[in-house]
């Protein structure tokens, strides 16, 4: 597989990531191993191509850091203008998601309730819930007990009645 040496110039994208992308793009296609290796290297080559071009554009603009604009212009000038719309879209999506997340969290903060208070309220609610649970459990227990007692009584009277019946028989015998 790829570089085991510490040499900077052997850097490539991890094979697994490439394999995954190929699989997603060409789902039922078998890809020869040397073709995969080639794709990995093409990736590196592409990155070098874009960064060199973007860097040149950056230098000309007298800025020190390569900006998104520079990358976009590089793509254009290298004939990859068709990629621009989509990469821009995804970038925008990212920003929108991040923006929403920030808004949502600040909305929560803006309720005006400090975190400690929220925490306290939460604990209160939990305690209340626990209590209700306990009461409910106790009720059920009582009901079960009552039902058990009832059952016992019925069983007792049933056997008592049976005994009474048999002793009556004995009496009758005596009278004869």
């Amino acid at each position: 597989m790829a570089s085991s040496s510490g040499n900077d110039d052997d850097l490539t994208i991890p094979r697994a990531a490439i394999n995954k992308m190929i699989k997603e793009t060409l789902p039922n296609v078998r890809v020869a191993n040397d073709a995969r290796e080639l794709v990995v290297n093409c990736c590196t080559e592409f990155i070098h191509l874009i960064s060199s071009e973007a860097n040149e554009i950056c230098n000309k603009s007298e800025k020190k850091t390569i900006s998104p604009e520079h990358v976009i212009n590089a793509l254009e000038s290298l004939g990859f203008g068709s990629y621009i719309a989509e990469v821009k879209d995804v970038l925008q999506e990212c920003k929108t998601v991040a923006l929403k997340r920030r808004k949502a969290s600040s909305r929560l903060e803006n309720l005006g309730i400090p975190e400690e208070e929220l925490l306290r309220q939460q604990q209160e609610l939990f305690a209340k819930a626990r209590q209700q649970q306990a009461e409910l459990a106790q009720q059920e227990w009582l009901q079960m007990q009552q039902a058990a007692q009832q059952a016992q009584l019925e069983a007792a009277s049933a056997s008592a009645a049976q005994q009474a019946g048999s002793s009556q028989d004995e009496d009758e015998e005596d009278d004869m």
């Binding site: 040499n7 991890p14 990531a17 995954k20 020869a32 990736c43 973007a54």
Partner: protein
């Protein structure tokens, strides 16, 4: 591959790309003279590279001239590199991996040509 999980406001994170941005950054920096890269620029480059992989795979597959229609072979890729203007830059690395210094040399030469 958690790489650059940026905490900055509104800057992109790893959830929208399949390729590790940290690795892309390393590769970019190993290019001659490349200085600093803005985080968004890095994101765009990574995303563009992904599109490139897809584009390359699809084009090669469509152009496939091999007997086996359902295989992507080395030669499919090589052919598309020759055939498409955009992919000409790939002909340098076919059929074998070239040494970095040779690449740098050819890049210099190409730049000199451009300057003329």
């Amino acid at each position: 591959m958690s790489g650059d999980n940026v905490g900055g406001k509104g800057t992109p994170n790893n959830k929208n790309v399949s390729l590790p941005m940290s690795r892309v950054k390393l590769i970019m920096k190993s290019s001659p003279d490349v200085s600093n890269i803005n985080q968004e620029a890095l994101f765009l480059t990574t995303k563009a590279t992904e599109l490139f992989v897809q584009h390359l795979a699809l084009s090669s597959y469509k152009n496939g001239s091999g007997k086996d229609k359902n295989t992507l072979s080395y030669s499919d890729l090589a052919n598309v590199a020759e055939g498409m203007e955009n992919f000409q830059f790939l002909t340098d690395i076919l059929p074998k991996k070239i040494l970095a210094r040779d690449y740098l040399k050819s890049l210099e030469e190409r730049q000199e040509e451009d300057d003329l």
